[in-house]
């Protein structure tokens, strides 16, 4: 029987595609990622010259591997499902916002609202994340190698946010069930957020998550922040003083 499997080099030719956003349109790239990549058997896509464009690799819903070589603008990999999107540069506001699954890795810094409202998947930011990182997180994990700005994890409902550096003001304000692990200083906690003791379970799961994100910090260096749940029920006597 003839060997019908393509050779390694032929498989590489078929499986990868390179887009130059200096010459090809963003719409052509996203159309390819949404529709043609899977039918043409392409599993890895490289993007050159992103030049800060918005919405690169948004709304993917297949296990593609997208490598972006340069800085990107708003909403990179927003609503991601299943895909692995890597940015070799910085990201603008709303990176991986509303991600459902998959993995998004920003090698530089990320602007405001990184991972906002994400339901699942893993967002890794090697550098700093600006304000409102993980705001309204609904699941999934965010690991930030550097610092995060103020109001991060505001109203986060589920999932984990790991901060290897410092946090700004009002960290974890009005948290629901999401858990924050922070290694550095916290300028201030938000309403109803509190430090809690790290359990064996925290250390073990955090160590695993740090490893997945490519960091080798000792989980023992982190503190746990979760909701004190005093806002879960309305208290008539509180007189709106929280």
């Amino acid at each position: 029987m003839a060997n019908l499997m393509p050779t390694a080099s032929a498989r590489l030719d078929v499986a990868t595609r390179r887009f130059d956003l200096g010459a090809e349109s963003l719409r052509a790239l996203n159309l390819f990622l949404h529709r043609q990549a899977v039918t043409e058997g392409v599993s890895q896509v490289h993007v050159d010259n992103p030049a800060g464009a918005h919405s690169i690799a948004c709304g993917l819903h297949a296990p593609l591997d997208v490598e972006i070589h340069g800085h990107v603008g708003y909403y990179v990999a927003g609503m991601n499902q299943e895909a692995t999107v890597t940015v070799h540069g910085n990201a603008g506001p709303g990176a991986a916002e509303n991600m459902m699954s998959g993995r998004v890795h920003i090698h530089g810094f990320a602007s405001t609202a990184a991972g906002a409202s994400a339901h699942g998947g893993l967002l890794v930011i090697d550098g700093d994340a600006s304000l409102r990182c993980g705001i309204s997180l609904k699941g999934g994990d965010i690991v930030v190698g550097g610092n995060v700005g103020s109001f991060s994890a505001f109203m986060a409902q589920a999932g984990r946010i790991v901060i290897c550096g410092d946090a700004g003001d009002a960290l974890g304000d009005s948290l629901y069930e999401a858990v924050i692990y922070v290694r550095g200083k916290v300028r201030s906690l938000g309403a109803d957020a509190r430090f809690e003791p790290m359990t064996d379970f925290d250390r073990e799961s955090l160590g695993k998550l740090l490893g997945e994100a490519g960091f080798s910090h000792d989980p023992a260096e982190f503190r746990r922040i979760a909701s004190a749940k005093s806002l879960y029920h309305w208290h008539a006597d509180a007189d709106q003083e929280y």
Partner: protein
């Protein structure tokens, strides 16, 4: 939504290229501000006894040579005018206040956009690329500039409402955001004899800071004071004859990115306006932190 751009070149030989480096920055912010655009460019000051005024006639049929003739007849001193479409730069040895008073009577259709010794100011309604083309922004020279593309959210789309706003001498400000208490600021300043030209929120900020400068604050001190006086969202970019300054509100609602290299400091609302700059790959990039004041001097 609006776009802001700022550029300061660190090496004198790059002053020739200030305009050509900036035009792609400004047009890169078209989606953030498609309805109007403008910029203030700072170059070497005019002679010690001179001032320059940026004048705007819009669509009005004002004859610039007649305007100059009337000025020469009315005010002693040397006066010269350089026309650029519906804008003109008037250089004069007369006291600027006298020139402004003269124009208010003799040429009431003329708007005085800026007064100083280093600043030239252009602004108009239209797409940023059209405006850049209209006034030949690509050939502008100077040490630094402050530019803006506007998407109006709180007041009319007119040349007067376009940015930059100016007040006093050689001071300008552009704004991305919206202030919630411009009328209170105005109420505070008007009794001090400070006059407003528009109902625009940004003008209130501009006149507040310039008032503080006249009261003796340096620009960072004036901005620090602004944190307790100005309520709302802002990324402000300001220019003086010696300085470029950027500051964002406590919530950093409006974006900004700075790229700094040995050759330049370039500021824009988004990286896409910086992507074309020479050797950008090796520039140091950062986002200004909320309520931190960043300034660079020429």
């Amino acid at each position: 939504m609006c776009g802001i751009v700022g550029l300061l070149v660190k090496k004198p030989q790059l002053r020739e290229q200030l305009g050509s480096l900036m035009v792609p920055m400004l047009t890169g912010m078209t989606e953030r501000g498609p309805d109007s655009a403008g910029l203030a460019v700072y170059s070497a000051p005019v002679g010690e006894r001179q001032h320059k005024l940026s004048l705007y006639r819009g669509a009005h049929a004002v004859d610039w040579s007649e305007l100059l003739g009337a000025l020469v007849a009315a005010l002693s001193g040397d006066h010269d005018i350089h026309v650029n479409g519906n804008h003109a730069i008037l250089t004069t040895t007369a006291e600027p206040a006298d020139v402004v008073a003269h124009l208010a009577v003799q040429s009431p259709l003329i708007a005085v956009l800026s007064i100083g010794r280093s600043i030239d100011l252009y602004k108009d309604v239209g797409a940023p690329a059209e405006i850049a083309e209209r006034y030949g922004f690509g050939s502008l020279r100077g040490s630094h500039l402050v530019g803006h593309t506007r998407m109006a959210t709180e007041s009319a789309v007119t040349p007067a409402h376009a940015h930059p706003f100016t007040a006093g001498r050689d001071f300008c400000l552009v704004h991305n955001g919206s202030l919630s208490n411009p009328h209170l600021v105005r109420k505070k300043l008007e009794p001090l004899g400070i006059e407003f030209e528009t109902d625009n929120d940004t003008e209130a900020a501009c006149r507040f800071f310039e008032w503080r400068l006249r009261e003796g604050d340096d620009l960072p001190t004036a901005v620090q004071r602004g944190f307790s006086e100005l309520d709302g969202f802002f990324t402000f970019l300001m220019g003086t004859d010696r300085e470029l300054l950027i500051v964002r509100d406590a919530f950093a609602c409006k974006p900004a990115v700075v790229a700094e290299s040995d050759d330049y400091v370039a500021i824009a609302s988004e990286f896409r306006s910086l992507a074309h700059l020479p050797d950008i790959a090796h520039a140091s990039l950062f986002e200004p932190k909320p309520e931190e004041i960043y300034s660079w001097r020429i």
